[in-house]
Symmetry: C2
Subunit: 307 residues, 2 copies
Amino acid sequence: MPKHSNTLEKLLAAHARKIDQLLQSTIAERAGGDTPKRLCDAMNYAATNGGKRLRPFLVSQTAAMLGRQDQGVLMAGAALECIHSYSLVHDDLPAMDNDDLRRGKPTTHKAYDEATAILVGDALQTLGFELLSDEIIHVDPAKRLILIQELAKASGAAGMVGGQLLDLAAEGRFDGARPVQSEPSIRAMQAMKTGALLRFACVAGAELADASPHDIDTMRQFGEIIGLAFQLADDILDRTGSAASLGKSAGKDEAAGKATLVDFLGLEQAKVHLDKQVKAAHAILDGYGSDADILKQTASFIAHRLS
Amino acid sequence: MPKHSNTLEKLLAAHARKIDQLLQSTIAERAGGDTPKRLCDAMNYAATNGGKRLRPFLVSQTAAMLGRQDQGVLMAGAALECIHSYSLVHDDLPAMDNDDLRRGKPTTHKAYDEATAILVGDALQTLGFELLSDEIIHVDPAKRLILIQELAKASGAAGMVGGQLLDLAAEGRFDGARPVQSEPSIRAMQAMKTGALLRFACVAGAELADASPHDIDTMRQFGEIIGLAFQLADDILDRTGSAASLGKSAGKDEAAGKATLVDFLGLEQAKVHLDKQVKAAHAILDGYGSDADILKQTASFIAHRLS
């Protein structure tokens, strides 16, 4: 079974550099002469903040496994990263998670100010949808519209944004009422908040490569499972990780009075579950032979990152 | 020259009811079972707040003048209103304009809370792009993509969002530095902040009706001019209107230390300019005969609303 390796980390780093460069050049080009410099600078700051670019990497590797590798695939990944970045900027705001640091650097509202951060998030979301509508993404307009629709569902009220509100609700933030938390309710929140974009990344890669309905469905399942693994790994790290390795404060969920999956499963059982999910993710890709090696390693990386 | 009349106000009110109903049903349908009720409720609160729905009305009337009148046109208007509504919710936030009231009702962050308001704005933006990608908008996918691209340009960093940042900069909000204001700099800010969406409304109506490039260009010019008139009327109202008739605090720009066009033109000259703009807007539509009557009345309404 492919474990993630130094080779994978090198591939990830090289790909992240490409995405960063593409985001920088795209923000500058799309801004046009009228966009205030402060807004461009802050969008760049927020969008190129040293992330691993895992979601664009999944888009690229899925498309590559299914036969497409070009600038359009990278651009679709950049579009997805705009959406992910906007959500981080808004989630960090004082009225939301109130984080001063993100990956060891001041969050956008700390480096600039709250009003600028709100506008940066708004503009990055717009840019994400604008980029997906570009003809470089796919020659067939109908295919671009499928991606726009899927991304809207994954990131909007029924996906990422709805999940963030459920997460805040679990902290008892609204009217002091804290909803009863259970393993299913936590899984449902996580599936919306982080799972939906990871699944979209895999589906988008398959759509971009004009994959068959069967392959698209397989990648949807793969995306679903690595989403679960990503979230479970996060909860395990929140319990065991140091702030340095986590890139954010460990024990934060506990401090906020939020239950995590580890509370329901126990730490050992959570690790067993995680291993099962990685095996399931690998098994789903068995039909693709060695073409699936990098995606399998990526699944392992997601489960064992920073731990 | 058609002045706006009781008939126009009745048309506007009937159209606004249709848009409100469409927004309510669409928010409920698109949300799906997973969207938290609080988010749906707050999106409804923010999106159906008693506005005149001027932008969707312009979409509908432009499309009607050029030969299309159906549910798809209304849906495109609803999509545009989602974008307009999201911008109002975010602009009202404490870190932005810090407004407690909007059209006499508590702003979204007052009726709910800041975190919910941020997420409501985010989800309404997503919904706007999702709705434009729907096949009800236009049978040709390429046409839907044109609308998505135009809306992204009009509303993003090079349009509405960039304009809002310039407006905050004019208040000296960033690093205490207040940029020198001039008539051209105010016009440029206004063209981005409010002009771009009004122009988009007219262009979108023409695109939806499969208008000729000439007609689309004519409607772009019409939209440009009514955008100028809208902004000039706003500045005149800020100087002369009461808080009640304005629906917000009069004299707010002066209090914020912001110059307006009235400062550069003087009140009388500003009114002369406004009349000229209305005449120019009417003249642009002369080739369409009586089919253009409602749009001409709308231009008059925009210039003389609430005054």
